[in-house]
């Protein structure tokens, strides 16, 4: 298989973006309505003129004279690879977007790149300020999707993004698209996850290695996430969440859009519920995503859990009915404290339940076999 290669013109474009980053920041976040994906649609001259009219000529001249061996040497020094829109390995989905990045930098195995076709990729996004409900669903959903063989794309952010990566990486392939250089871990506390994805999955960015995170670069990377995937699923988002930008961009591209229903009285789910009201596909589990992307019943996501004994089955039913602590379950089913404890532990060990730090149980998406 060929190695990913980026042409000098596209690499120069990436350098220009990094150079203009502070100017774009001022324009993209200072004036309402001028969003970064629209700016990045412009070609080099127009972009420079739009964001930095005073120094445009100087910046453009500087970018044009960088020699090719310098570009190659810098890339080699950063231990990353790059592909560009003229390369065979450039992800297919990105070609559909007229604002697609010219060059795409990456860490991880480039041999995964051909697999990034829209019909095999799903983007899972959501708010950084997520509730435990959203985090659990994101993790389970991503695990189910990865198990079914889909590539899970997300943005490595706090909250839903991080949970989606964590759920997916144990079961299959996950791709993190960053708003900074691929050799920068942002947020810094996701360092371990970033490193693991760099080893077992892919980390992608349109900004050259070493570039820091800018406010405008997050909406910009959202357009990459939206374009990579055949379907974008918003797990949990409030009405003003940045993940709704990804949803808009995906809809603009004509890609499928899904959202996980949340409590109607929860502010954290306002945005995702609005998407559903606006006609987005209802996503309850991985099967819903597979049906929407590939047609109903084409591929089965469901895997049934191991068999459980009758007492545990009653406990499982009680948790599904809303009892969430050992106390409530013991009282509701008239079990002794010891019996309830034993059944809960077995169900947790088998993967049917999970327990929070404060001893509150919740259901995973694993389904028991019919008794």
């Amino acid at each position: 298989m060929s190695e990913p290669r980026a042409c000098p013109e596209c690499l120069r474009r990436a350098r220009l973006l990094a150079h203009l980053a502070p100017y774009i920041e001022k324009v993209a976040t200072g004036t309402p309505g001028s969003r970064s994906p629209e700016l990045l649609r412009l070609d080099n001259e127009d972009l420079a003129a739009a964001v930095a009219p005073k120094v445009a000529d100087q910046v453009l001249a500087q970018a044009a004279v960088v020699p090719e061996r310098r570009l190659v040497a810098d890339l080699a020094a950063s231990r990353c690879w790059a592909t560009c829109r003229h390369d065979d390995l450039y992800p297919e989905g990105l070609g559909d977007a007229d604002d697609a990045p010219w060059a795409l930098f990456g860490r991880g195995e480039p041999r995964w790149l051909p697999g990034l076709r829209p019909d095999g990729v799903v983007t899972v996004v959501g708010a950084r300020r997520a509730t435990s409900y959203g985090r659990e669903v994101a993790r389970d959903l991503a695990r189910g999707l990865a198990t079914a063989g889909l590539v899970v794309v997300s943005g490595l952010a706090f909250g839903i993004d991080g949970c989606a990566h964590r759920g997916a990486i144990d079961a299959g392939l996950t791709v993190a698209v960053l708003g900074c250089g691929v050799d920068v871990s942002y947020p810094a506390s996701h360092r371990a996850l970033w490193r693991r994805i760099g080893e077992e999955g892919l980390v992608l960015s349109e900004l050259p290695p070493g570039t820091g995170a800018w406010r405008w670069s997050f909406p910009a990377r959202n357009r990459i996430m939206a374009a990579l995937a055949g379907m974008t699923v918003v797990v949990e988002a409030a009405r003003r969440s940045g993940s709704l930008i990804t949803a808009d961009l995906a809809a603009d591209l004509g890609r499928d859009l899904g959202a996980v229903p949340g409590p109607v009285n929860s502010r954290a789910s306002g945005g995702s519920n609005d998407l559903l009201a606006g006609g987005a596909c209802v996503v309850r589990d991985a099967q819903d995503v597979l049906d929407a992307m590939l047609g109903p019943g084409v591929r089965q996501a469901e895997r049934l859990g191991p068999a459980i004994e009758p007492r545990a089955a009653r406990v499982l039913a009680a948790v599904e009915a809303g009892s969430d602590t050992a106390d409530a379950i013991a009282a509701g089913l008239d079990l002794s404290g010891a019996e309830a404890a034993a059944s809960l532990a077995v169900l947790e060990a088998l993967g049917y339940l999970r327990c929070s730090l404060v001893g509150v149980y919740s259901r995973t998406m694993l389904k028991p076999p019919c008794v």
Partner: protein, 497 residues
């Protein structure tokens, strides 16, 4: 003329011998006390002067020097008054104690010469017996406490006036009745008050049976404090030696009067307590709440509100059962083997995330719970999620009484002592002893499965094994089975999600 008297000063929770030497000779009238006295001892001069004058003796108008030997030991408290007065009276030839057996004395003087009780008399009496003193003079109120020590004559002195009568053989005090030690666990609040809440009851029983530390998480008013205060009543009663230990600490800290009726100490310091207040400290070093809870229960309500350094200070004592306090002059080791019981709310507002009324931001909940897992979580064995009992449970019959639970706990403790040695429990099992645990195949498979899926850390693995052993001891069986292992896995405290 020179005279001496034997007394003791309190040092932490043990007593150190002090010899009072008083010299009365001609010179300008003066009264000085030397030998590292603290403020209370220095003020003894005024009390002794007034007491002697008011009891019909004559305060000698000479140059008086009272030396407290050994000079290097810091003397604290008013307990030296009586010895200074007695030595002064002997030196000025107003009193002759030679007719009495070898004597130690302790007590604070009132200005009219009557004696006031002092702390630590139990420790002082024990130290006196060790030094082969035959009799000890104590204030009347301290008599029952001193009488606990066998092989020592306790003479209760109401007032300095009576000292002359005693020396002359004209008056002999009644020997005091030894105070009762709390050797039965009855009398405290009863577990029957806890209605419903089967899981919490189970967790309490396992915690008591194995001496495991327990964290209760639940909304305010769900019964966490109620449950914690009932814990001493299901612990097995103290052995005589342990009860003496507890009484000695209480006596040294002047808390003998307000002991818990249930026998075992129950301490619930407020969350604003300082590290020194919790584990002991200051100069001279004083015992903290951890030592006061020795052989009993230390209850930390609102665990997340405690200062971080305060909780960190508790780590080493929890591990070793001792508090070591090093100060410029000395190093002290205070015992503190207690059961740690903590309570916390599930989120900042207290209702818990699953409650629709919970108003906490998701991030605030996560930060709060992170604090919970940071605070001593690795030292806490059990987690009980506490929920408000339902209306039927509140109106229903009262729960199983403490006596029934206690007998099961005692049986489980007996099995542990048989296996590990006297006075030890499962919570203290060493890694070597853990390897001796017998597991059947199903239990071993369940534990190995949880461990290999990274649901358990190495430490949590050992913790689960200890809990499983306790659950098995409660069940009265020899081999840890699948059911017991499952219970232990459920009961374990979660360090991380």
């Amino acid at each position: 003329m020179l005279a001496t008297a034997q007394t003791f000063t309190l040092d932490g929770i043990s007593a150190r011998p002090v010899r009072v030497e008083v010299d009365v000779h001609k010179g300008l009238p003066a009264f000085s006390v030397v030998g590292l006295p603290d403020a209370a001892v220095r003020e003894a001069r005024e009390r002794v002067r007034a007491a002697i004058a008011n009891c019909g003796f004559k305060f000698p108008l000479h140059r008086i020097v009272a030396n407290l030997a050994p000079a290097s030991l810091r003397k604290a408290g008013p307990g030296l008054d009586l010895a200074i007065a007695a030595a002064l009276l002997t030196a000025s030839e107003q009193l002759d104690l030679d007719s009495l057996p070898s004597l130690a004395m302790v007590g604070e003087l009132a200005l009219d010469g009557s004696l006031r009780p002092v702390p630590g008399v139990l420790a002082i009496a024990e130290a006196a017996r060790e030094r082969a003193v035959e009799a000890i003079l104590v204030p009347e109120e301290n008599g029952p406490e001193a009488a606990l020590v066998e092989g020592l004559d306790v003479l209760c002195l109401p007032s300095l006036r009576r000292l002359a009568d005693l020396a002359a053989g004209e008056w002999v005090p009644e020997p005091p009745e030894p105070m009762g030690l709390p050797l039965t666990a009855n009398g405290g609040p009863d577990l029957a008050d806890l209605r419903g809440q089967r899981h919490l009851r189970h967790a309490l029983e396992v915690a008591a049976a194995g001496g495991h530390s327990l964290l209760m998480v639940g909304p305010p008013g769900a019964g966490k404090s109620l449950a914690a205060s009932r814990l001493p009543s299901i612990l097995p009663p103290l052995a005589t030696e342990e009860a003496l230990e507890v009484a000695r600490i209480a006596s040294a800290c002047d808390r003998l009067a307000d002991r818990e009726p249930g026998g075992r100490p129950f301490r619930a310091p407020h969350h604003t307590v300082s590290p020194a207040g919790l584990v002991g400290g200051g100069n001279p070093p004083r015992a903290g709440e951890a030592t006061l809870a020795h052989r009993g229960v230390l209850f930390l309500d609102e665990l997340c509100e405690f200062r971080r350094d305060t909780l960190e200070a508790l780590r080493a004592p929890l591990e070793t059962g001792w508090v070591s306090i090093a100060r410029a002059g000395s190093r002290r080791r205070l015992p503190c083997r207690f059961m740690l019981v903590a309570a916390a709310n599930p989120c900042p507002c207290g209702r818990g995330e699953s409650d629709p009324d919970c108003s906490c931001a998701p991030l605030a909940v996560r930060r709060y719970q992170a604090r919970l897992s940071g605070a001593l979580a690795d030292r806490i064995d059990l987690l009980a999620a506490v929920q408000q009992p339902s209306a039927e449970e509140m109106g229903g019959p009262s729960g199983e009484p403490s006596t029934a639970v206690r007998s099961r706990v005692a049986a489980a403790r007996e099995r542990q002592e048989h296996r590990l040695g006297i006075g030890r429990c499962n919570a203290e099992m060493t890694p070597a002893e853990l390897r001796e645990c017998h597991l059947d195949d199903a239990a071993a498979a369940l534990l190995a499965d949880s461990y290999s899926r990274r649901r358990l850390s190495g430490r949590a693995h050992d913790r689960v094994l200890r809990l499983a052993q306790t659950v098995t001891d409660l069940a009265g069986s020899e081999v840890i089975g699948h059911e017991q292992m499952a219970q232990a896995l459920q009961l374990r405290n979660r360090e991380d999600s």
